[in-house]
């Protein structure tokens, strides 16, 4: 196992654990971009991280940021700044830690699946999409240069059970979505919250790339929900993610191809087209198929 040499991948804040996963009784060893690392917790809960060398001995210390109900570190010297997500600071929201899920896929396949609406009816049937309401209406994408993020706005989809609260209430709703690519390995969405006319639920997906084809996904949420139990909210999100997982693990090739020749997009795939272009422009090589190398 060798650490990647891709500077673009290295210069990112990446998730490596969820709160409570690392305890003073039990250090946590994991892999980040091919680099083995170890996380330990002091008795007051402070988490520290070190890179491990080939023999497993601790090497240099790595910086830690705990934010958005996730523990991040970076292997790079000048990482892309952490995003600003105000929803996590709003006191009336439920911050839900859904743990983490392992996926054998390229991190960028995972990001694209998160951005996609056309699969709601088939993969999340009777939850995020209904069998007979499959059309994806036009939406917009833009590259917001000030924060260097890809945004998709004006997205709409009919959802039988859009959220834990909506599932409990048994109410289908037309859901508004806004998608935000926070970094090559981080993505989030804002969606209509039941009973809140002008505020939106926030759901994030931060991806820890262990290797180019093996990742761990962390899904923290900042929800406007007074009715659901914590377990109910975790249940909802884990159900969705495990449904996506069988797709993600069975896409071929595993590495994301950048050329449209091999994968034909439609209008509904606008955000994935924008994402692939943005990735190409970033100079990222990790996790991508380099057909153009020939």
């Amino acid at each position: 196992m060798t650490v990647t040499s891709d500077i673009v991948a290295l210069n990112q804040w990446l998730p490596v654990a969820y709160p409570g996963q690392v305890t003073s009784a039990k250090p946590h060893e994991t892999l980040l971009l091919g680099q083995p690392i170890r996380l330990t917790a002091a008795s007051d809960g402070t988490v520290t991280a070190v890179a491990l060398d080939a023999s497993g001995a601790p090497g240099r210390e790595l910086p830690i940021i705990e934010q958005f109900a996730v523990i991040f570190t970076t292997l790079g010297d000048s990482p892309r700044p952490m995003p600003i997500i105000e929803a996590f600071d709003e006191p009336d929201r439920r911050i839900v830690n859904c743990g983490s899920v392992g996926v054998h896929a390229s991190p960028f396949r995972i990001v694209e699946n998160f951005l996609d609406m056309a699969h709601f009816c088939f993969v999340h049937t009777d939850i995020l999409g209904a069998k007979n309401e499959t059309e994806v209406l036009s939406y917009k994408t833009e590259h917001r240069q000030d924060v260097d993020e890809i945004w998709a706005t004006g997205c709409q989809f009919f959802q039988p059970a859009a959220s834990p609260a909506a599932a409990k209430a048994g109410e289908g709703q037309m859901t508004d979505y806004t998608y935000r690519v926070l970094s090559p390995f981080g993505v989030m969405l804002y969606k209509s919250a039941l009973g809140y006319a002008d505020r939106l639920d926030a759901i994030c997906l931060f991806i820890q790339p262990k290797t180019e084809t093996e990742c761990i996904g962390y899904m923290p949420m900042a929800l406007l929900d007074d009715t659901s139990s914590n377990t109910g909210m975790i249940d909802f999100q884990q159900t969705i993610f495990l449904q996506d997982r069988i797709i993600l693990e069975n896409q071929r090739p595993k590495l994301l191809p950048l050329t449209p020749r091999s994968e034909m997009p439609t209008r509904a795939d606008l955000s994935s087209v924008a994402f692939r272009r943005w990735l190409k422009d970033s100079g990222m090589k990790f996790g991508l198929l380099h057909e153009e190398a020939a």
């Binding site: 071929r252 994968e263 034909m264 439609t266 795939d269």
Partner: protein, 214 residues
Amino acid sequence: MEPILELTEPHAIALCDNIKPGGVHPIQLQDVELVLWRDYAGQAHVWHDRCPHRGMRLSFGFVKENRLTCLYHGWEYGSDGGCRKIPAHPEVTPPKTLCADILNVSESYGMVFVSAGENTVETNTEWVSVRSIFLECDGAQALAGIAEFVEITEAQENQVYLNKSNTVAVAVQPCSRTSCAIHLSTRSTDPTARLALAKRMVALRRKINQGLRT
């Protein structure tokens, strides 16, 4: 490097009886992923296991009104491999270039074959399945094992081996360099004889696996 299919000769990939109308099956041939499905008119189809949209394996899909439907976005493919419907854009007619990667299929000796030649179906319905079995060894070793209880003669057309009395047919599917499947069919509908052959095949697999462990 992605493995490429070598189809200078046809390869058996399943027993006909096992591929029921509406069924969708993942097939591994020479390390290449294929999908084998049968429509409700009874025609078998073998394609590369990949939807041209976002690369999802079609073997996870399902047959809806004689079209293979991809599990990811519900794209529907007709029997010629052409995409007929994109649910995200119900009013759009998919371009003719939007097509699954199709291969030729034939059925004979009770088995389904993929080949580079033309699609053919033998109407000979005399052959019934015994069973398919998957072995962690190459085709030569598998055939040698089968030869211990079936008097195999030389390979016929389609690389099918018949026994001397022409009552048992055997074919090898090279799944990878180190694994294969054996498909066996007979002319005898008698379940006792078929069960006996099936049990011998299981014993062979056990013997080969034990050989690997020692």
